[in-house]
């Protein structure tokens, strides 16, 4: 292992399943000591890339390195130093949660730490004496998270870690990620939820259709993020043409649907001067984010948007 090697290095990673091109050439470098989000819609290739790193599947072309180790030739060493949470977590139904964790612990006896494991279970609120078959989806996810965290791996690879968890436990997971990073370890997690990545990650790669479309600091992504508002007015809706960053998406009688990029304050100020019956806001979809990303990237698209806005 090279001590200075990045946590993850994917170069030209391609994976075909028959005619399906799951990965179309992924290049990605993840530095150590950070929480890195892997953001994309379902089916974008996130899980495929992760499973290549663990040598569960073999790339059609390209190479993957984790902590400076070749993911295929040195796969055992890679897995020794990684904690992995599968996206479709399946464990042995007939085992008690604690026995299952004991079993996973036997693979890394040198890293066994029962005290830390019990602390994780306590913080997540999981009863280790229960049979896995009797656990809810959220509690199973906790078992999966604990087995990934309990040996304090140098790199955590988590596929959709907060899926099925209630908000309180999600908060605990966020703390655990921060703690891992504070100890100098690295976290790589996938998600299809933008807000989650914004909340947890320091940096993010956006993946779509097997390609990385952007790698960003989360701070910059936030600055570029869009909000969608649906406003129903008591009277005729005003014009939004003069507002910076506001785009009118649809107007249906007294209801207007707006997309706002950047600060929302000017819009709020304008709405305050009118009779608003209802105001709803939506999580922007990933597509909105991509659109926002591309429109910011390409001046042509931005120009078109200007025209659209002017004509609205």
């Amino acid at each position: 292992m090279e001590p200075d090697a990045p946590a993850i290095e994917l170069s030209g990673l391609v994976k075909h399943y028959g005619d399906v091109r799951a990965l179309r050439g992924i290049d990605l470098t993840v530095a150590r000591g950070q929480i890195f989000g892997f953001l994309g819609p379902n089916g974008a290739g996130k899980t495929t890339a992760i499973r290549v790193m663990l040598d569960l599947i073999r790339p059609t072309a390209g190479a993957a390195h984790v902590l400076g180790l070749d993911c295929q030739r040195q796969s055992v060493e890679v897995r020794r130093r990684c904690g992995y949470l599968p996206g479709e977590l399946r464990t042995y139904e007939n085992m008690r949660a604690g026995d299952f964790l004991d079993y996973i612990d036997t693979f890394r006896p040198e890293r066994r730490d029962a005290v830390y494991r019990d602390e994780l279970a306590r913080r997540m609120g999981l009863d280790l004496t229960r049979h896995i078959r009797a656990l809810s989806k959220g509690n199973r996810q906790k078992v999966g998270l604990i087995q990934a965290f309990m040996h304090r791996p140098d790199l955590l690879i988590l596929d959709e870690p907060t899926s099925g968890l209630d908000p309180l436990v999600q908060e605990t997971v966020a703390e655990l990620l921060e703690e891992a990073v504070a100890e100098g370890r690295t976290v790589f997690f996938s998600s299809h939820v933008l807000s989650e990545v914004e909340r947890l990650a320091h940096a993010v790669a956006i993946v779509r259709e097997g390609e990385i479309v952007a790698v960003e600091d989360v701070a910059r992504l936030k600055a570029r993020s869009v909000h969608v508002f649906e406003v129903t007015f008591g009277g005729a809706p005003p014009s939004f043409a003069g507002l910076d960053g506001v785009r009118e998406m649809r107007r249906d009688g007294r209801t207007v649907r707006l997309q706002v990029g950047g600060a929302v304050d000017p819009l709020i100020k304008l709405l305050a001067r009118h009779n608003v019956l209802e105001l709803r806001t939506e999580q922007p979809s990933l597509e909105d984010v991509f659109l926002a990303y591309y429109s910011a990237q390409t001046p042509v698209a931005a120009g078109e948007e200007e025209v659209q806005r002017a004509s609205a």
């Binding site: 028959g18 073999r58 897995r79 992995y84 599968p86 977590l89 079993y103």
Partner: protein, 280 residues
């Protein structure tokens, strides 16, 4: 020395099967031994059985204790071992893969070969334990019953049940690796075992089919012969050799293919394609 984890878990998971099947075999063995005196009189009246009846019994001389136990015990109880072997063989790779647990197992610092080898070793030991418990049935009955038969000969005959079970384990392991769908692999193997048993039993009686029996593993098992003549080493060698080849082929195939992710549909065609050395 630490017991390898996968080996230990695989063995532990089979404990009830081992005990249940072992006790069943022991009970059948002891029962057969105890009823022998009652049958003995009847069979001694036959100088020669009708050829068709004799054919169904294979080479066994039913008027002797060896022939009787061959027919009543050794001719068919390997089928029980074969069922265990198929359950475990298809469970080892296909079972873990279709239930989705293989993903997490192979994310641990173990090689794929180690997974297969540890599981295979555990089931081989399980089969040995089953026949050992079964042999106890003879140990607790032969000395007390009115039967003249060698316990050493019975031990040899009991051990002779293992190679054919190992062969079906290897076939099941390979089938489950080729088509990582446990139900399909198990169904295919059970059909194969049944067909082989059927072909073997009819080929003994029908001269035209006599050549066919050499193609069935049951011929090399040779139920009746082992008790009177001991193990035919080259027959056991054929069974174990084919088993070893299939285990080697499983290791090779499992090493180079993709693991299917949790629980979803298994791409059988892609898995089969991965077994083709010419495809890339």
């Amino acid at each position: 020395m630490r017991v390898p984890s996968i080996f230990a878990k695989t063995l532990r998971d089979q404990r009830w099967q081992i005990i249940g099947l072992g006790v069943t075999l022991a009970a059948i063995a002891a029962t057969a031994v105890y009823i022998w005196p009652a049958y003995e009189e009847t069979f001694q009246n036959f100088v020669e059985l009708p050829p068709a009846v004799q054919a169904l019994l294979g080479d066994a001389e039913i008027g002797t204790p060896e022939g009787f136990l061959s027919a009543e015990f050794f001719s068919w109880t390997p089928v029980l071992l074969i069922v265990l072997a198929i359950i475990q063989g298809t469970g080892a790779v296909a079972g873990e893969e279709s239930s989705g647990t293989m993903d997490l197992l192979l994310a641990q610092p173990v090689t794929r070969q180690a997974v297969v080898v540890q599981k295979a070793a555990a089931t081989l030991l399980a089969l040995v334990l089953v026949v050992a418990i079964g042999y106890v049935g003879f140990l607790i009955s032969v000395p007390f019953a009115d039967i003249e038969i060698s316990l050493a000969g019975l031990l040899v005959a009991v051990l002779n049940m293992l190679p054919i079970a190992v062969l079906f384990y290897a076939l099941a392991l390979w089938a489950g690796t080729a088509a990582p769908n446990r139900a399909a692999a198990a169904a295919g193997l059970i059909a194969l075992a049944t067909a082989a048993y059927f072909v073997y039993s009819i080929s003994n009686g029908v001269d035209a089919l006599r050549g066919l029996r050499y193609a069935t593993p049951f011929y090399y098992y040779g139920a009746g012969r082992s008790l009177s003549d001991g193990i035919t080493w080259w027959h056991a060698g054929v069974l174990l050799g084919i088993a070893a080849a299939f285990i080697a082929f499983t290791l090779w195939a499992f090493q180079r293919r993709d693991i299917s992710a949790g629980g979803g549909d298994v791409d059988v065609r892609a898995a089969l394609r991965s077994l083709n050395p010419l495809a890339r």
